[in-house]
């Protein structure tokens, strides 16, 4: 069976030339960049050339790029590093309720350690209102962290508007741009952000490598201690093959970026348009226009997300869902609930994240098989065409979920 991958928001297949570059580096460029001999010098040169390539993708200076192990570490370093270095000024952080757990759980950790966190609400599209940021700021605020593109529903936040507000207030602004970088234009100067997280494996680079952009002049402290790597900000021998692979992925991302964005967006739009037209009781989650190029997220009423995923997988299609079963907890996605979706609707969410290698044929195949899957599950669902006059003995309190059974 042909396998179709619509889960690029989770991870992407490493580009072949990236893989070859990484392999070559592992075999022939194995020196420690801190060593003074020729092996070390060769590795150092590669790391610094890679830094230039990553900087080029973001329109940053090479000195503003710090390599990390990925998005989670970049978020941790940004948030903990800024709060540690600036706590004399205050203990207040502003973020949103729809952030990735790498940001949310880091903020919750800081709350337990004496910091105050404001979690800004979002509208029905999952969008933060910049005016809410302005109102939440006080003279103790040291950091605002709002993601660029939401990993679940794809909504793009008004980063530029928020950055203008934080800049005026003299407060640092970090954005988790893990879903955006490499998949759409991201220009740190144009956005006006102070810190930005990115991850290699979200745009055809290797896993275990990422970077944090830190604008020159930003006061930040290390959270990982050891040798003086990454200009004393991130101790640990550099992941040289990963860094070289990330840089190659950045170079590839830059090639024909507008064309690639347009192509993926067009496939996404076809998917959204057709689903909304052909299936009843379905809604698009996230903003109708301001969304990540590859992200489509639907809620199919009366059916549950994991059942949709299993059925799609049987048809060879890989996707994801925000249902409780797939979120690894008893509650469905915090993002969907923050947007005001009921638990029922959130349980029936399906996320399809398209990437560069997806074709229109693949999208058509999905559009062909999804209606019958939804119909079949609905035929099985007691919520669909529910006969309310039935005399049924019900046990609604679900002690299995909310008690210790």
């Amino acid at each position: 069976m042909k396998r179709i991958y619509f889960d690029h928001g989770a991870t992407t297949k490493v580009d072949e030339t990236v893989a070859k570059t990484v392999m070559e580096a592992m075999l022939n460029n194995f020196g420690n960049p801190s060593s003074i001999h020729s092996f070390g010098r060769t590795a150092r040169k590669s790391v610094e050339e890679s830094r230039e390539k990553v900087a080029a993708l973001l329109n940053a200076q090479p000195g503003e790029i710090f390599f990390t192990s990925g998005g989670t570490e970049s978020d941790n370093l940004a948030i903990k590093g800024i709060t540690l270095a600036n706590q004399k000024k205050g203990h207040h952080i502003i973020t949103s309720t729809v952030e990735h757990h790498a940001v949310l759980h880091t903020c919750e950790y800081l709350e337990k350690n004496g910091f105050t966190v404001t979690y800004l609400p979002v509208d029905k599209y999952g969008m933060v209102n910049p005016e809410d940021v302005r109102e939440a700021l006080n003279n103790k605020t040291i950091l605002v962290s709002i993601m660029m593109g939401n990993n679940e529903v794809g909504t793009l936040q008004p980063i530029k508007e928020i950055a203008a507000i934080t800049r005026e207030a003299g407060v640092y602004f970090h954005t988790d741009a893990v879903q955006a970088v490499g998949n759409m234009p991201v220009d740190v100067k144009d956005l006006g952000v102070d810190l930005l997280s990115l991850s290699g494996h979200k745009f055809y680079g290797p896993k275990g490598i990422g970077a944090l952009y830190i604008r020159k002049g930003v006061k930040i402290a290390p959270v990982q201690h050891g040798g003086g790597h990454e200009r004393k900000l991130r101790a640990g021998t550099e992941n040289v093959p990963g860094i070289i692979g990330l840089a190659r992925a950045c170079e590839i991302a830059m090639q024909d970026m507008p064309e690639k964005v347009a192509r993926v967006s067009a496939l996404r739009d076809k998917m959204i348009r057709t689903i909304l037209q052909n299936i009843d009781h379905v809604q698009l989650n996230g903003h109708p226009e301001k969304r990540l190029p590859g992200n489509a997220n639907f809620s199919f009423e009366f059916v549950e997300g994991e059942s949709l995923l299993l059925n799609l997988d049987l048809k060879g299609i890989a996707a994801s869902s925000g249902s409780a079963c797939t979120s690894g907890s008893l509650d469905p996605s915090h993002v969907l609930l923050s947007m005001g979706l009921s638990h029922e609707i959130a349980h029936g969410s399906l996320r399809l994240t398209l990437g560069a290698e997806n074709t229109e044929d693949e999208v058509d195949y999905f559009l062909d098989v999804i209606p019958e899957i939804v119909t079949r599950l609905r035929a099985m669902s007691p919520l669909y065409n529910n006969n309310c006059n039935l005399s049924i003995r019900r046990s609604e309190v679900c002690e299995h979920c909310h008690g210790d059974s």
């Binding site: 549950e304 005399s391 609604e396």
Partner: protein, 126 residues
């Protein structure tokens, strides 16, 4: 993550549907939790479950356990049916992932609700 048997019952669920003149109907769970299971029973005068159907909103485990319990209970007496536990249903499926044991393994509970509904409507079993 699911056994072959779970996937078999998920892809080819047995006894899906409703019984329009059911003698007992039971439902457990709620949509908030992401699982609702409803069981319909047709019971003979001798107290034997002659027909059983289910409707379920839920994940793979919820659908598979619903299907399994209907298969286990058909032809059984109400007393035998009351002895079927959620655990026994999971075992009949070759096990469930640990995370599913508590949240989606409710099919026997739905069956028991349907039997209680029958008893309420028809009096004690013979």
């Amino acid at each position: 993550m699911y056994t072959e048997k779970v996937m078999d019952h998920f892809t080819n669920p047995r006894n899906v549907g409703e019984i329009s003149d059911a003698d007992g109907i039971g439902e457990v769970g709620n949509a908030k939790c992401g699982d609702i299971m409803r069981i319909y029973l047709k019971v003979s005068d001798a107290g034997i479950i002659e027909d059983v159907k289910f409707k379920t909103f839920g994940c793979g485990a919820a659908i598979a356990t619903s299907s399994m319990v209907t298969e286990m209970v058909k032809g059984k007496s109400l007393k035998e049916a009351l002895d079927i536990s959620n655990k026994a249903v999971a075992e009949a499926l070759g096990g469930l992932p640990p995370a599913k044991m508590h949240c989606s393994n409710l099919a026997a509970d739905a069956l028991h609700e349907a039997i209680k509904d029958y008893i309420e409507k028809h009096g004690e079993t013979k």
